[in-house]
């Protein structure tokens, strides 16, 4: 490839190649540096508490005892709650947009749903504090507990403060919905026409075509989209910090305040009282980093599998 028509050109080419190669290598270098910095900062806490850091629910800065179990629990529960709410809606929108919507409606609706992803997290948090949380406290929580008589079950028991796991799950659901729906829409559009035509030719109704011929074909791509949404939800910080109530407690009730790993860091980092406290927060960051890495890799792999099949 190194045909050099002019004498000076080869020098220029080498500079160009070297510069772009340096930029490209900066990406792996950045990731390695990030991993090392976070691991080094987390080490004092991880070595002091060992595996117990993940299982203990004690968080006491004065006595210097730290356990991340409530934050890990809160992260997982709020994210799963968000997926349970957002997934059916996101799939519905994506199916509507790719299969049923009249042509003139597709662009505007897709645009509106994508706009959800453009709203900054802190603006969702603001809305959460002043609209969602009061609404939950005054209407939704009393309705669920008293009207529907769910107050006796452990999931909807306890006083209705407002800031709660439920609030976090709902706001996360709104935030991850556009990610799941846009991946799903793309995957559905990649399903070959012949797949649909074959189903219709066999006498399937339009829904039977979706269920029998389109969704199975797109299944692993849709799973990828959902897991990508999960990755977003796990790491989401500001909006959750503003509505989850920030309390170190594991409670089965969705009405109870909780903590997530991200909100714990956001809330306590600048007020960390001593080095061990700071290191414990870094260790929480390291756990969050590891969790999102695994989840994101899984999602990429699933989406990649469908795209590769679509191409061949």
């Amino acid at each position: 490839m190194s045909t050099t028509p002019l004498h000076g050109a080869s020098f220029g080419d080498r500079v160009y190649r070297g510069t772009t190669a340096a930029f490209v290598l900066s990406i792996p270098a950045l990731l390695v540096l990030l991993g090392i910095e976070v691991a080094v900062a987390a080490w004092p806490a991880l070595s002091a508490f060992g595996f117990g850091f993940l299982t203990s629910s004690e968080w006491n800065a004065v006595d210097g005892r730290f356990g991340a179990a409530p934050a890990i629990y809160g992260t997982v529960v709020s994210s799963l709650l968000a997926l349970v709410i957002a997934t059916p809606l996101a799939l519905g929108v994506a199916i509507f947009l790719s299969e049923f919507a009249p042509r003139w409606l597709r662009q505007p609706v897709a645009f509106l749903v994508d706009l959800l992803a453009a709203i900054p997290s802190v603006v969702y948090g603001l809305w959460g504090i002043f609209v969602l949380v009061p609404l939950l406290r005054e209407r939704v929580m009393p309705f669920l507990a008293d009207r529907l008589r769910l107050g006796g079950t452990p999931f909807f028991s306890g006083p209705a403060y407002g800031p709660s796991m439920l609030a976090a799950g709902l706001i996360l659901a709104i935030m991850v919905l556009p990610y799941i729906s846009s991946v799903t829409r793309e995957v559905l559009l990649a399903v070959p026409r012949s797949q649909r035509e074959a189903a219709l030719a066999l006498g399937a109704t339009r829904w039977e075509m979706i269920r029998g011929a389109v969704l199975p074909y797109a299944r692993s791509g849709i799973m990828g989209g959902i897991i990508l949404g999960l990755g977003r939800a796990l790491g989401e910080t500001m909006a959750v910090t503003m509505v989850i109530g920030n309390r170190h407690d594991i409670s089965a009730s969705l009405f109870a305040p909780g903590y997530t790993m991200a909100s714990l860091i956001a809330n306590e980092f600048s007020e960390a009282t001593n080095d061990l406290h700071l290191s414990a927060l870094m260790a929480v960051g390291a756990v969050l980093l590891a969790l999102t890495l695994v989840v994101n890799m899984l999602a990429r792999w699933l989406v990649w599998r469908v795209e590769r099949r679509g191409r061949s």
């Binding site: 050099t4 002019l6 050109a9 080869s10 500079v15 160009y16 772009t20 340096a22 930029f23 490209v24 900066s26 990406i27 792996p28 950045l30 990731l31 540096l33 990030l34 910095e37 900062a41 809606l89 799939l91 519905g92 929108v93 509507f96 609706v109 509106l112 749903v113 994508d114 706009l115 959800l116 453009a118 709203i119 900054p120 997290s121 802190v122 603006v123 809305w127 504090i129 609209v131 729906s181 074959a198 189903a199 066999l202 109704t205 829904w207 039977e208 979706i210 029998g212 989401e236 910080t237 991200a262 860091i265 956001a266 980092f269 600048s270 870094m282 960051g285 980093l289 890495l293 990429r300």
Partner: protein
């Protein structure tokens, strides 16, 4: 595939089909409602507390109503400037490399890693930037905040640049090489130039994405109630100011937070809109 016609009457199957299609319509309505609610409320509450002073005045202490977020707006622009100055060259350069070395193992590894970087929680990037840039010098700074945002920008710009450069026909590149252009000039003056509108769009989309980020700034730029344009000092930013006002107990500050949110969202939408037009002028209608 599953048997499309189980033993049910055609009428029952048609009803099921219609009902399910109806449900997808309901889903579409429910998915767009929160957006309309949020935008509506933001306009209503934001507009009532928005005035000229909001853009020109400094924050007032508790108890005095009025004041503005002039310092936070300048801070946000400065942070975006620092992030772009670092993130754009690195992202575009890396994108060029990826597009020109498509088949290489290194390219596919980096492509994957940049997706990984893109998926990292912003708070993790925040604590990394703190550990790496703030802790050693023992004070928060605008520069650390800008670098944290740049880290978020690089994967976005890299992947988008690569996509855009791939749309440049090989014939164009080959023609330039055949005319005796060295590779570096071909890349920079022919290929990059052709893909430029798309890259400008990608850059603006990336800026819009990071403009509202709060978490990476919490422990780097930190926020500042006073005027500062120094790279070495803590600096305020719109998202930080909205956050600290929103969680405060004062009504005056809540009103300011709504106004700030409206301005921030307007900024994000404005950048996105410019981004759309930058592509449209060349390619005749973008597809996103």
């Amino acid at each position: 595939m599953r048997d499309p016609a189980p033993r049910r009457s055609l009428r029952a199957r048609r009803v099921t089909s219609g009902a399910m299609i109806g449900l997808t319509v309901v889903a579409a309505v429910f998915a767009t409602l929160p957006l309309l609610f949020i935008l509506g409320l933001l306009l209503e509450r934001g507009a009532t507390s928005l005035n000229w002073a909001f853009f020109t005045a400094m924050p007032r202490p508790v108890g005095e109503s009025g004041g503005g977020m002039a310092n936070a707006m300048v801070g946000t622009l400065m942070l975006l400037g620092i992030a772009s100055a670092i993130g754009l060259p690195v992202g575009i350069g890396a994108g060029l490399y990826l597009a020109e070395h498509r088949g290489q193992r290194l390219a596919s590894v980096v492509r994957f890693l940049s997706d990984v970087l893109n998926g990292l929680p912003s708070i993790v990037i925040g604590i990394f930037a703190w550990q790496f840039l703030v802790r050693p010098v023992r004070h928060f700074s605008a520069l650390a905040g800008g670098i944290a945002l740049a880290v978020m920008m690089v994967p976005l710009v890299t992947r988008a640049t690569e996509e855009m450069i791939r749309t440049v026909p090989d014939a164009l590149r080959e023609a330039a090489l055949a005319l005796g252009y060295p590779r570096w000039r071909t890349s920079l003056t022919i290929v990059l130039r052709t893909a430029l509108p798309g890259i400008v769009t990608a850059a603006l989309v990336a800026v819009a994405r990071i403009a509202g980020e709060t978490a990476p700034l919490l422990f780097t730029a930190f926020g500042n109630q006073f005027w500062s344009a120094s790279l070495a000092q803590p600096i305020s930013a719109l998202p930080l100011q909205i956050f600290s006002y929103a969680i405060s107990p004062y009504d005056d500050w809540h009103a300011q937070a709504w106004a700030g949110a409206l301005v921030l969202l307007a900024l994000v939408f404005l950048i996105s809109l410019v981004a759309k037009f930058a592509t449209r002028s060349r390619f005749g209608g973008g597809h996103d």
